[in-house]
Symmetry: C2
């Protein structure tokens, strides 16, 4: 029985998505699907999630093809969580048409024994009470990342603050960072978030990349620029999943390693948005990732004007 | 008589600006004011511009204090160009309330002899016909940067295309790049702009930084993040002016040097927006700039996971 070093919990969904170019139904979605697939390029993750009786076998096979450990995947009576959304012109805005919670509504997982000693944990975006329930079962995690969203900031702030106190890194997007801290300026918001407990705050800015904040500094990670964005759904989960997979593979969580993990996360997410659901990740290989990582590093690189010389 | 190695042409304006916090009148503004002040930290520029009879002596003294060469500055009968604008909440949008062209309307400068052999030229945002008129007088420039705006794209496209063909680098903002090329995607837009002639295209993205495109690659420059933006007017001109000043000082225009110039441009612009008009630049010193340059480089830096070893 495998003991995955990275455990990821989140939603598993059936998505129906319309973009300005295309409309696709019955896609595999949900934060844990994207995050596990992305993490698998670096370290095979253990998935904690729930599906209903309607969940297609082909999606189970897809998880297997990514080498995802499914000991933590439950099948429950009822309908799988489902999301229907529309991206408006230029993909700049998205509207949710329908959310069906289904079996996700009463999800309260008991983790398999094989997951309890996992050093790396990614608490995907879901009710903070559920994040706490999962986290409390892991014996002594080395590095925990939590994601969240505006809904939980608005309706379950106190439990969310409890999550934030207990994790090593919090990730959220720009507007959520402002909402949670009531600061318009992003630097002020990041400082306020660091005061809430985590060592690292990772603010996602979509096509403009992301920013990492810690007590000692700041890192600005540009997104890998792509020409053909087909479907941005799950980009943040893909980014964070790859980041956590990378840290798990290197078994480190210092800032230098997190910066490298962000480069890899940005690259894997750049592939992810070039197709619907996990389609682009299915075709992805390590050499493809390495090529874009090299490209992105060169796009970020500044040669210093003259080498630093050591005074003697 | 000094022969400045960098010549900058553009508007000189009296600005009246309202932000959500403050309203200030009779400020020194205009693209060439910001660009020359910013360039002066690296190389004293020669200014080509026009003012009216109403132009205050204190602004002339301010130019002198930045060590700007004023042989190319004309004083004409009439009113100085003036701009009145309001920044809406969060500084995200600005509205022009009034523009008075004044003496700028009939500006058609004959450059002083001392400017004709300048190797570096920055054609600030103004009518492309006027940009061509200035450029045609410079004998054999080594590196020419041109800025433009949506107005000229809409009403003088053919003359603007003539400018673009003749310069080494074009700078414009994201929406202008899309407008000029009719491409929503920024990479497509940049490719189309490179086909129009310049070796380099520099797309400005405001608080999200800028991107440099050339035949061989791409560079993503984050903006230096600041907490207190007081007045973003002139940020693009400050950025470009500092960039050109830096290139002039190093007397080089290869891509590695341009990347370093962009880092410096981003830093000088970050100071500029922290006060109205040139107030922050008046107080600025080289050690302040160097400190933020070091900071920005560290925010962009990724250590490679292991040193490249040469196979033997």
């Amino acid at each position: 029985m495998s003991h995955p070093s990275l455990v990821i919990v989140g939603s598993i969904g059936i998505d129906h998505i319309e973009t300005p170019k295309l409309k696709k139904e019955n896609l595999l979605g949900g934060s844990v699907s994207y995050a596990c697939a992305a993490a698998s390029f670096f370290s095979p993750p253990g998935m904690v999630g729930v599906v209903g009786e309607d969940f297609p076998d082909k999606f189970m096979e897809l998880y297997h093809s990514f080498d995802v450990d499914l000991q933590g995947l439950q099948r429950a009576e009822g309908q799988t969580f489902s999301w229907t959304g529309v991206y408006e012109e230029n993909m700049d805005n998205r509207r949710t048409l329908e959310t069906v919670l289904g079996v996700f509504e009463s999800f309260e997982p008991t983790l398999p024994d094989a997951y309890l000693s996992a050093p790396f944990v990614f608490l995907g975006n879901m009710h903070p009470g559920l994040q706490l329930h999962v986290l409390s079962q892991i014996e002594s995690p080395k590095f925990v990342l939590a994601d969240t969203m505006d809904l939980w900031i608005n309706i379950t702030r106190s439990e969310l603050l409890d999550v934030i106190r207990k994790v090593n890194m919090l990730t959220l997007n720009e507007s959520e960072a402002r909402l949670l801290t009531d600061s318009h300026n992003l630097l002020d918001a990041a400082k306020a978030l660091l005061k809430m407990g985590p060592e690292f705050v990772l603010i996602k800015k979509g096509e403009h990349g992301s920013m990492l904040f810690s007590e000692t500094g700041m890192f600005i990670q540009p997104a890998f620029p792509v020409e053909n964005v087909e479907d941005p759904t799950g980009a943040g989960d893909t980014f964070a999943g790859a980041l956590m997979g990378y840290l798990t593979r290197t078994n480190a969580c210092d800032e230098a390693e997190i910066r490298r993990a962000m480069v890899h996360g940005s690259v894997v997410a750049s592939f992810g948005v070039q197709a619907f659901s996990l389609e682009a990740l299915e075709a992805l290989t390590t050499p493809h990732i390495q090529k874009r990582v090299d490209g992105l590093l060169s796009m970020m690189h500044v040669d210093l004007p003259c080498p630093h010389t050591v005074a003697t």
